[in-house]
Amino acid sequence: MERLQVRRIQTDVLIVGGGTAGCYAALTISRNSNLSVLIAEKANIKRSGCLAAGVNAINAYITKGHVPQDYVDYATKDAAGIVRGDLLLTAAEHFNEVTEDMERLGLVILKDENGDYVARGNRNIKINGENFKPILAKAVEEAERVEVLNHINITDLLVEDNRVYGAVGFSVTDEVAYEIHANAVLIATGGAAGLYRPNNPGFSRHKMWYPPFNTGAGYAMGIRAGAEMTSFEMRFIALRCKDTIAPTGTIAQGVGAKQVNSRGTVYEKHYGLTTSERVYGTVRENQLGHGPCYLQTSGITDKQNEELLKAYLNMAPSQTLRWIETGKMPKEQDVEIQGTEPYIVGGHTASGFWVDTNRQTTIHGLYAAGDVAGGCPQKYVTGALAEGEIAAVDIIRRLEENREEWIPSDPAFLQENANRTLLEYEKIRATEQPAFTIEELEEAMQKVMDEYAGGIATGYQYNENQLQLADEKIDQIIALTDHIGARDMHELLFAYELKERLVVCKSLIAHLRGRKETRWHAFNENQDYPETDEAYYRYLNSRMRDGRIELIWRDIVKEGEYEHTN
């Protein structure tokens, strides 16, 4: 097998991941500076990331009569206090401006007769977001000084003395490796799915809520480079339509359907209405033998029924196909619901990179935005746009206004780093008869996480003994990944996706072990410590030093400016 051809590229700003946050950051830099930008995207920015199928509401918006602080207060309460006030407030201050910008770019938003956006609840507005991502991608493609490299997978950051200088990756389709040198790097790779055995582990294993292609790449490269992470133990478990794993908010908020058990009892009021309590209630009702659980849609009007069918086509078409295929419409039959497997996703909970108010990570020159950035739960789509913008503005300030230029003190060290990564690609490509396939090891990892780290199998519950076993078993699987092989570039991508997920699993287990309380039912359901303990009203952070994960406890940060002290 011939070695990969190596292409070396120099840019001012490298953006890893061309999803919502990455694209908007590129757009912001193009509009406000002369800096060159390179987006490295492992698929194609037209439909990559969370919004591939579309999205049918803006769920983080400051509606009439509200102020950004209201949003901070809501998200703080929902996360039982473990949020960053500074990150939530700065994101919320941008929600409406980025929404209006998306409308200028072509996004359709529902308006009333006065031309005002129509609210869905206190924080949401209604849109047609089927083509949200193509609209954003088109704007990026037309932006000056922005180059997009589609189908390039970044695996490792080039870091020396806690300062980032670029990244290394490879083409998913051609036998080419990339060494990219940059003055600033923005990680916008999204969260992590596929850590746990999914709801549908067979043929439809990827019919999951979160994109199965978001594999925690950004977390993994940050962890390996020594960046500080926060709140991984605040996992996210979504409440979704059974089988299709389609969103439920459109039904719950759109037509006001309540959560009922099989006896017809509205159970949601017994467990509380926070995001995690809604999942927990559903799990408990099933454990008590009261399942299945449903969203009570029977009796909605013909018009509501028709609009629901259309709304789902714009974000989760499998649900519409399901209704039509079975011939049982939501107006005739309640919609069965279930909890998903747990994910790590900073757009919904607080897990991700520990960043300062400007979204710079603890590695100098390395920024994080969107689902990969922690501390700012329920930021959703507008929050990803907002964080992309906030990070971009700070990058411009440093590189263009302050003319910060960083010269590596030891360029040979960086080159050795890059070469080591390139050699690892060659080793995996050269392994012809691996003991286990990548798929087999992925299944092994998901089984361990499911059974010992609080997956669907245990109703999301775990205890310390189980977590210790999970940790040992994940170590065994990591050891086996030293011998995996890839026959083509796409299999090399699969190899790295597995390796990334295993790195995230290790950190996740360490975080679950660290928080010796149960603060968010279902999200962290610690059976050794089933109550909330105010001594744990702190952030649990972590970083890797010499291959070991260190835990760091930090005090709660309120609204205002937060700077790293390292």
Binding site: F213, A311, L493
Partner: protein, 103 residues
């Protein structure tokens, strides 16, 4: 859940291979080929991208599918979502991209 590509209809334009968020489709022997059917997320980006309606989306039997398939044909801003049922009938829902969701 996954997609099937009707090779008779496929014109090998390659648009689906470019747009899939998992890069799961490639051109093989002058036709689009779904290389990893079990890895499909079901976003239907390819189904909407196909200019000749050659890509059919279906639900796997493990999530309740009974063999119906869905494809999309579009005229400007109107998307025709065509559901071909197992009894041979076709049900079409038209969605106008210029209209917002109501919920």
């Amino acid at each position: 859940m996954s997609i099937r590509i009707n090779k008779d209809k496929c014109i090998a334009c390659g648009r689906c291979t470019q747009v899939c968020p998992g890069t799961l489709i490639s051109l093989k022997d002058e036709k689009a080929n779904m290389d990893y059917p079990r890895d499909c997320w079901g976003c239907v980006s390819c189904v909407k991208e196909c200019p000749v309606g050659a890509i059919e989306f279906f639900l796997g039997a493990d999530i309740g599918g009974n063999g119906s398939v869905m494809n999309v044909t579009s005229e400007g801003d109107i998307l025709h979502w065509n559901i071909h049922k197992t009894d041979g009938s076709i049900e079409t829902i038209d969605v106008d991209r210029r209209n917002s969701n109501q919920y």
